[in-house]
Subunit: 253 residues, 4 copies
Amino acid sequence: MIQMTLTQIDNYGPWTVTPTPRAEADLQILQSELYADLQRQFAAKGGLVFFTRFDNMLAVTNGVSMEDHRRIQKSIGNRYPITVSMGVGASETPYEAQKLATNALQSYGGAQSEERKEVLAIDSMTHSEDSFVQIAHIDINGITDTLTDIIPAYDTNFIVNRVQHFLMKKLIDEGSLLFFIGGDNFMSPCNGLEPEGLLRIVEEIKDEINISLKAGVGKAPTAEKAANLADLALEEIRGGFTYNLVHVMKNKD
Amino acid sequence: MIQMTLTQIDNYGPWTVTPTPRAEADLQILQSELYADLQRQFAAKGGLVFFTRFDNMLAVTNGVSMEDHRRIQKSIGNRYPITVSMGVGASETPYEAQKLATNALQSYGGAQSEERKEVLAIDSMTHSEDSFVQIAHIDINGITDTLTDIIPAYDTNFIVNRVQHFLMKKLIDEGSLLFFIGGDNFMSPCNGLEPEGLLRIVEEIKDEINISLKAGVGKAPTAEKAANLADLALEEIRGGFTYNLVHVMKNKD
Amino acid sequence: MIQMTLTQIDNYGPWTVTPTPRAEADLQILQSELYADLQRQFAAKGGLVFFTRFDNMLAVTNGVSMEDHRRIQKSIGNRYPITVSMGVGASETPYEAQKLATNALQSYGGAQSEERKEVLAIDSMTHSEDSFVQIAHIDINGITDTLTDIIPAYDTNFIVNRVQHFLMKKLIDEGSLLFFIGGDNFMSPCNGLEPEGLLRIVEEIKDEINISLKAGVGKAPTAEKAANLADLALEEIRGGFTYNLVHVMKNKD
Amino acid sequence: MIQMTLTQIDNYGPWTVTPTPRAEADLQILQSELYADLQRQFAAKGGLVFFTRFDNMLAVTNGVSMEDHRRIQKSIGNRYPITVSMGVGASETPYEAQKLATNALQSYGGAQSEERKEVLAIDSMTHSEDSFVQIAHIDINGITDTLTDIIPAYDTNFIVNRVQHFLMKKLIDEGSLLFFIGGDNFMSPCNGLEPEGLLRIVEEIKDEINISLKAGVGKAPTAEKAANLADLALEEIRGGFTYNLVHVMKNKD
């Protein structure tokens, strides 16, 4: 079971243009600092946040308790001009978990409701005995030599975005999510997706848009450990210790 | 003429996995704080940064001098475990400007070069008499009611990413760039693109993926002012003061 | 028993002037962001950090484990140009605890040693059964009306510093510490100090420099809870619910 | 002429306890991030901020215009749960300048007024032709070997605070200010103080509390340059290039 938390800034859209549109630079700073802040606080409990749309952020939060969520919400409310509401859901697949989390939050009112404020809507949470996170860390083979150092920066960005788009489309059919994490890197919470399934996707993308990907997969009770194992698995591919384009490492604790 | 700056973290990839992969949460915090930091420093000079790939960030920097760039680089070097190199280019279109900026930086060595460090590579800069920035602020009509409050958070994210992908594809043909800035918002540095051209793109996207967009366009000597005018133009559409899906406001200073 | 942690930036002095003196503004930003960062991470575990000298920070850390300390050190090392070493000690009084923490760290090498790096030196830690923190929150009566709104800002600052100096001198004799926390506020970890002792100090300062203080005291198993109770106790004095200048609240969990 | 800005958080005290006392850790993070943020923004214009009491911060701001002040205020208002008001004054001595700045702000209402918000109260500003800043960077000789590495961390902190208290007392008589900047370092905006006067103070402190200080003094049109020259002057003493305990460097631009 994977636990996911949706963090949503309360009534953010209207705030950004009241009384007149706020400086875009300020909004960008606010959003990225809020993301860094939530990341730091969830990470202290073994969770991992993805910036998603910045005003809506999805996180894998196995092991992060109700009380932890409350403390984080309160801490944000004390230090930002905005507040955040959260929904939490647990399920067999990441897609289902975020769906439950979203439903729970939506039932308390809309994102631009003037009444809804600092809501914590819990549909379900994982327990230590059933907690399980599978994360794939995917990157583009040799991007520095073939793209970053050769073509214009925006063109590389365009290709990375294209890869993201294709990966998202294919992974969602498997109940898996996909988030861009910077550079040429993506992370996919993918409970339930077999290595063969991931390999097939990697091969399809090679065929369709001629981009070579590789993926390290980690399996562990928390997002932090799963992501770390995924990194190590990816390093084994990079280091030539395996010829597979998809390599899996499991938690040994 | 629009001036663009490419900021690239020096030798970042190898650093993230030395001696072993660093915690993903820490890297995410580092990247988003670096982005917020650069934003604050460029904004103090009238510029605007887009997070792009986080290890490579593009910015519109009309009016930001060579000395300003140096100071920002040094300030980052003093406070982060990494350093940044920059390339600067000025041209008639944003696409050309970032291409010149990238070329200039690439000529000093690769992104993973162990020698290249804190380089400032200037191809060309704008001057006060020819400085001109056109920025479009594009968003999705009624996204809160039709998507955010109704469907799962990831599905909304998926649709926003799809819109981004289509916009990028169409705008690049016009020499214009497109960056996601959070929520359902995009900003497009688009010197040289006529309102009719932008309207056509908006209509095509409506036809192809049935998503309604609107766009405010600002024109001014700096990115800050152009973005602000774009926001105001967008507010006029939202407020019903114009029936056009693309509305333009010009600097009156 | 109170547990205290000394966090020391490794070899910081030489770094600040290598190769030439770094911009003072950058050092100030680095130091205050490092403090905020440590605060956030220790607070997530119920601890409380005082900025002290910024390059050396003392914290009350009951309940923060060895593993937590390690994680925090590593996280700092991943995101700053410097690393931190830590010493931990537990004792009956805060003074003794910080002394043990300092001794433990000093035994690994000096603050400007080129070898010592990211050391975690643990002399002793509290356990859940003997964990106890007493914190006093002290402020100046009516400072806004009598000083801030009347005299020059620096003169108020001078008076606050004078109060700090007198409080430090008197509290150290009781084995208690005293930290400035902004405005006209001080926090004193003061295990073992009776309310009568604190009241006597408050009265002496009234006699000697004609400044009226009041103090809320909290007692709890963690710094977070003790500080919160101290705040509530201070609010009771402010609200006129008690005529005492020193008021105590205990944890009821 | 030196220009000083007083930045004051609007109605901060009441906010910190509304509706109940906010977590001390959150307030500490808020205050230190606000300080870092202001530092970064004033530094971009050649200014230098001192944390002072955190809710009241004094800064040397020669060359920072009215428009710059406005932009900084607005940027803070967009990203924090609080707003800031500012007073600005220019005079022959730092003490006089901060007095004028405070008076200007006080005339708009008290620090805990519910009406006063985001006020910018300008008494006077420097102009490029009369702009002059003199800053001394003072530190304690050999503190690492004699204190930090030998005695408990709090005792070193106590001694540093004692030095601060003595320096503040003596410098205020000369119209000079004194701020702690971390470690064993102090900065003193000291227009009008002759090197002989500063040397006398250093010698008095040696006599009275047996602590040896040294001071580098910088003179330049902006705080940034003056602080930098003060650092270089201090390095010359450290490096043995001069036997004087007070050494002066002037701007050569």
